[in-house]
Structures are given as structure tokens and as C-alpha cells.
Amino acid sequence: MSTPTMLALPRGDRGRPTNGLSVATLLAGVAELMVVGALVAGYLNVRGLADRWPPKGVSLDNYLGTTLTITMGLTIVTAEWAVYALRRGNRRQSLGALTLTGGLGLAFVNLLWYLGTQLHFGPADHSYGALAYALLIVVGVIAVGGIGFLIVALTRTMGDQATASDPSLVRAAAWHWHVVSAAWLLVFTALFLLQHR
């Protein structure tokens, strides 16, 4: 048989899809939220089965949880600000907003670490302990990944690789940061809002 490409049309140059990063971010976000969602579902499951919840002597500081949530809420605004500014061609403002988002992200991780030091129980003490530590560690790891993504977006914007005509990297970094926010909201709801049964 003759090689079928003999009759082929010349290949059109489609170039790289511009929405690749957005799709990748969406898929990564789905996976991350599934991990957190599974842990929250496990938490709620054990909460429903336990005789006493949380265990005796366990109480999470609502002040810290609320501060973490407010910090995360601020980053939703600053991340969107970075995208908005870049789209309008205001690179300086976009860089500032990205820096602010990353800084608040670091503050969030720092506060999360502090929250971990304030827990008066260990992961091995009871089911609650294992679940609480798992939730906090996983959301912390996702947040650190989000900060890394923001740093990449920041440096590339500084190098003019993210511009008003192609803001996809900053857009994707902002979307990923919203996934971090959603993950924290799930954890906050489980650990703080649904702390007592």
C-alpha cells in the first residue's frame, strides 16, 4: 500500500494553544480540591460516628481561623487585581498586586504554621488529631505550591513574558490561587464552623 500521506493536505501551523495553562490549572485544581474534599468528607464521617466531637480538651481558636480566612479573602481581591491591571496594560500595578498576593500567601502559611504549634494534641492522639493535621498539612502544601506559581508569574511578568496581549500566565496563577482559597474555605468550614456537633 502506498503511504497515505501522499494524498495528504499540508499541515496547517496551528501553533501552541493559548489556553493550555488555564486548562492545566483547571485540571490541577480539580485534583487538589478532590484531595481536600475527600479529607473533609472523612472528617464529617468520623464526626458523625464519634460519641464526642471534638474529643475532650480539644478546642480550636476561632480567632486564628477567622484571621486566616480574612487573609485568604484579601488574596482573592489582590489576585484578580493583578489580572485586571495586566489586561489594561498597567504592568507596575500588576506586579504590585502579584507581590501583595504572594506576601499575603506567605502570611497565610506562616499563620497556618503558628496554628499548628498552638494545637494541644498530636496527630496520633485520636482520629480527630490525625484528620486535623492532615487537613492543615494538605492545605499548607497546596498554598506553598500556589505561592510558587505566583512567584513564577511575577518573575515572568517582570521579564515581559506576561503582557496585556497574553496575560494567560497571570490569569492561570490567579485561578490557582482561587483554588487554594476554596481549599482553605473547605478546611475552615470543617475544622472551625463545624467544630462542635
Binding site: L9, G20, N45, A130, I137
Partner: protein, 508 residues
């Protein structure tokens, strides 16, 4: 040269590496399976360890990566792309899988982990195992699972973003369609398993002994939920790419598109969807999570499978005289294995056999033998594309006889032993178990023959201009393809662009 293989971003090389490493792990799993059957004087601990190595090892380290390897190689070619969406991510996924798999095997050596089998039904059996091995066991599974998620995301992104002009989702070749379905399922299910592994690691590494131990709040219920939310769909998702490959093989054998393409696509998507309905299986540890929908939704999977088989048969009927092809024989063997499993399920309804050797035989046949037959069939079908020359019809026939015949004999022995009342998780030496042992040896020989012939081809890939009379785009280029895959791509106006091209040639 070594550096090239280590750092390559070529999807074809990564795909071949996936296939070779998966086959190497298959040999380990096959040896474990044969030892399991042949050693009637094994201690309970050794028996369970080998059982874990065979079952979870085959699913996690062999079948899923084997399909990922084939998809990594073939999906860009089938959709007319020159690359994967994120080539370096696939490289990362491969090396994570390979290293994680080796560490997982190492964790089973020496004192071994405190866990025996991913179901954790024999958690910390008699205080066996140590902390270091347990950490390695869990951490290696975490790494392998992250690799599976990364590879699945990459394949989904590739199909969504890199299709050539005219290649709509409705015109995707069946293997690419099935890859999209199974990768989406993996993307949703594997993170749940990952969450369970994180919990297990935290519990074990930080000294927790009570979280999964019986009698404490939560106990193994969470683990059962998380394991089965991944494990049950995974059993189906391991077959889904095979269904796509089999559809392409049938179309190739018939030299025409599938008789009812939409029905076939819907059936494959339905298997992927229904896979998630089958998670609430009864477990010995957490019977509280048995859902009444389980039996119905599990049985419902039969409907799309039957539709797909009917489409295949109708396609072959319309073709008149299908072209003889060893890969099509593997598809026939798969159908026979499914029919046998269905018959066994019907017989099991007469007499309760849950937890007996009968269930073990059923698991071997449905979860391991059936997808393995499709995977080896796919390797034969695309052998020339992968390695430049086909694996060979004679070798394929021998492998088919050994794998299918061995699986059938092994399952028969297990069915008879289970019917006789033998428990599923003990080493036994009765007559029926001997039959199963004989089957296991045949399967092992089949695995060794397959691995040897594929690795021999992979070791010396030769370029060939010979074009196969395939219908889909991967056959529109040389075997193996050049680095950029295509010099020119035929216009895509249907799911079988090369068939269209030949029709134009014939009419001209």
C-alpha cells in the same frame, strides 16, 4: 545516550519507557502470583504479602502505567499532534512512577511494612513489619499516585487542546476517546486515594496506632471509603482504555469504521461513569458503608459492555471476511473471559461464595486477566508503530494461549476451590488449588514471553516506511514516527481519515 533517555520530552520515548518498566513490574507480579499458587506451606503473613504484591502491584504498577504508556505514545499521533500538552510533566510522571514502584517493591523486603495489602484488612498482623518500611510503603504509593494524576491530567489536556483541524471530540479515534474517559476518571478518583494515603502516613509516621485499629472511632471506615472510592472505579478504569483499543482493533480487522460509532462512544463513557457507582462495595471491616445501590450499579456495567460487544460483532458481520490478526484474537479472548466471569457471577448467586477462593478467582479473571489480555493485544496491534516492526503473529499466538489458557485454568481451579468452601486468603494444597497453580504457571510463562518479545523489540527500534492499512491518523506516518510525528496530516472529516483517503484513492 543515557542522558537523552533521562531528560527526553519526546512522548514516544516516554511512552516506550512506560511500557518497558510496566512489563518489568508485570514479571515481578507474575512471579509473586506463581509463588502464591505454588507454595502451599506459606505462612499467612507471606501469603498476604505476596497477594498484595500481585493484586495491588498489578493494578497500580502494571496495568494502569501500561495504558498510560500506550496512550502517551499513541494519543498525540491519533489526534494529529506533534507533542503532548506538557511533555516534561509526562517525563516527571514516568520517573516518579518508576522510582516509586521500585521503592514500593523494596518496602516489601526485609521486615516489610506493618500493613499487608492496601485493603488493610490485615493491618499490623501479629506486630509484623517496622516503621521505616511502612513509611516507605505509604510514601511510594503517594509518589506513584501523584504520577498517575499528573499523567492523567496531561493526557486530558492533550486531547482537549492539541487535536488537529477537523478532529472534533466526536471524531476522536476510539482509543483516544477511551483514554479521555479513563484519564478523567483517574483525575477524580486517584486524589481520594491520595488523601487516604496522606492520612495513613500521618498516622503511622507520627506514631499513631489507633486510627486504623479496630475499636476506635473512625477506625477503618474512612480508609475503606477512600480506598474504595479509588479502588472500585480503578478496576473499571483499567478496562476502559482496553475497550477503546479493542474498538480500534476490531475496526482495523473489519477495515471499516465501527458499525455504530456513537453507541460505542456512549458505551465507553457509560462504563467510566458507572465505575463511580460501584464504590460502595461490601467490606468485611466496614459493613456499614454498603449501599443498597451497589449491586444494581455494579450489574448495570454489563449493559454498556454488552452494547460495545454487539457493536464489535456487527462491525465484523458487515465486513464479511475480517482480516486475520493476532490482536483481534486477544479481543475474542477478552470477550470469552468476560462471558466466563458473567457466568460465574450468575452461579455465585445460587450459593454465597463471598470471601472464598471463588471471589479470588473472579478478581483474577475480571480485574487482572481481562485487561491484561487487551493490553497485550494492543501491544501487538500497535507493535509496528511502537518499535518499527511487529512483535510477530507466532509469538502473539503463543502468548495468547499461555495468558488466556492459564487464566482460564487458574480461575477454574479457584472457582472449584471456592465452591468447595475454601477461604480466599489462605494457602492451600488441595486438588483444586493444584489446578489453579498449574494455571498460574502458564500465566507466568505468558507474561515472561510477552515481556521478552516486547523488550527485545524495544531494545532495537528500527525505522520502517511500511505503512499499515490502518484507519486512524497514527498510520499516516512512518513507524516509528519522526520526532515531529507528521510531515503532513490528512484532512480529517470523519473518525477514520485514512479510510476516507483510501476511498478517494480507489475512486480516482
Amino acid at each position: 545516550m543515557t542522558g537523552t533517555w533521562l531528560t527526553t520530552a519526546d512522548h514516544k520515548r516516554i511512552g516506550r519507557m512506560y511500557i518497558v518498566v510496566a512489563l518489568a513490574f508485570l514479571v515481578v507480579g507474575g512471579v509473586a502470583g506463581a509463588l502464591l499458587r505454588a507454595q502451599s506451606d506459606l505462612s499467612q503473613l507471606s501469603y498476604l504479602r505476596l497477594s498484595d504484591l500481585r493484586a495491588s502491584g498489578t493494578a497500580t504498577l502494571v496495568l494502569a502505567p501500561l495504558w498510560v504508556g500506550l496512550a502517551t505514545y499513541l494519543v498525540p499521533l491519533q489526534i494529529g499532534a506533534s507533542r503532548l500538552a506538557f511533555p516534561r510533566l509526562q517525563s516527571f510522571a514516568f520517573w516518579s512512577y518508576a522510582l516509586g514502584g521500585v521503592v514500593h517493591l523494596l518496602s516489601e523486603t526485609g521486615a516489610g511494612p506493618r500493613v499487608v495489602g492496601v485493603s488493610l484488612r490485615q493491618f499490623m498482623l501479629n506486630g509484623a513489619g517496622d516503621k521505616g518500611h511502612t513509611d516507605l510503603w505509604v510514601a511510594s504509593l503517594i509518589v506513584v499516585t501523584i504520577a498517575a494524576i499528573a499523567a492523567a491530567a496531561n493526557l486530558v489536556a492533550t486531547v482537549l487542546l492539541y487535536r488537529t483541524d477537523g478532529m472534533t471530540l466526536g471524531r476522536l479515534p476510539m482509543f483516544s476517546w477511551a483514554t479521555l474517559v479513563s484519564s478523567t476518571g483517574t483525575l477524580l478518583a486517584a486524589p481520594v486515594f491520595l488523601a487516604g494515603l496522606v492520612l495513613l502516613f500521618i498516622d503511622q509516621h507520627f506514631g499513631g496506632h489507633e486510627f486504623f485499629a479496630a475499636g476506635t472511632v473512625g477506625t477503618q471506615v474512612i480508609w475503606q471509603h477512600m480506598l474504595w472510592l479509588y479502588g472500585r472505579p480503578d478496576v473499571y478504569l483499567l478496562v476502559v482504555p482496553g475497550l477503546g483499543a479493542a474498538s480500534d482493533i476490531v475496526a482495523h480487522a473489519a477495515d471499516r469504521p465501527l458499525a455504530n460509532l456513537n453507541a460505542a462512544r456512549t458505551a465507553i463513557a457509560a462504563v467510566g461513569f458507572l465505575a463511580f457507582g460501584a464504590w460502595a462495595a461490601g467490606t468485611k471491616v466496614a459493613s456499614s458503608i454498603v449501599l443498597p445501590t451497589y449491586s444494581g450499579l455494579t450489574a448495570a456495567v454489563v449493559i454498556p459492555l454488552a452494547v460495545l460487544v454487539l457493536v464489535w460483532l456487527d462491525t465484523l458481520r458487515r465486513a464479511g471476511r475480517p482480516r486475520p490478526d493476532v490482536s483481534a484474537s486477544f479481543v475474542v479472548a477478552f470477550i470469552l473471559a468476560l462471558a466466563a466471569a458473567g457466568l460465574a457471577a450468575g452461579v455465585a448467586a445460587i450459593k454465597p461464595v463471598d470471601g472464598s477462593a471463588w471471589s479470588a478467582g473472579q478478581l483474577d479473571l475480571v480485574a487482572i486477566a481481562a485487561p491484561l489480555l487487551l493490553a497485550v493485544g494492543a501491544l501487538h496491534y500497535w507493535g509496528a508503530k511502537l518499535f518499527g516492526r511487529p512483535i510477530g503473529a507466532a509469538a502473539g499466538s503463543a502468548q495468547l494461549l499461555l495468558l488466556f489458557g492459564g487464566s482460564a485454568v487458574m480461575a477454574l481451579g479457584s472457582y472449584l476451590a471456592g465452591w468447595d468452601g475454601q477461604a480466599g486468603e489462605v494457602a492451600a494444597s488441595d486438588g483444586f488449588s493444584r489446578i489453579a497453580e498449574g494455571g498460574a504457571v502458564l500465566v507466568l510463562l505468558g507474561i515472561l514471553a510477552t515481556a521478552a518479545s516486547v523488550m527485545a523489540r524495544a531494545a532495537r527500534v528500527t525505522a520502517s516506511d511500511a505503512a499499515e492499512a490502518g484507519l486512524t491518523l497514527e498510520w499516516a506516518t512512518t513507524s516509528p514516527p519522526p520526532a515531529h510525528n507528521f510531515d503532513a496530516i490528512p484532512e480529517v472529516r470523519s473518525s477514520t481519515p485514512l479510510g476516507d483517503l483510501r476511498a478517494v484513492e480507489a475512486s480516482a
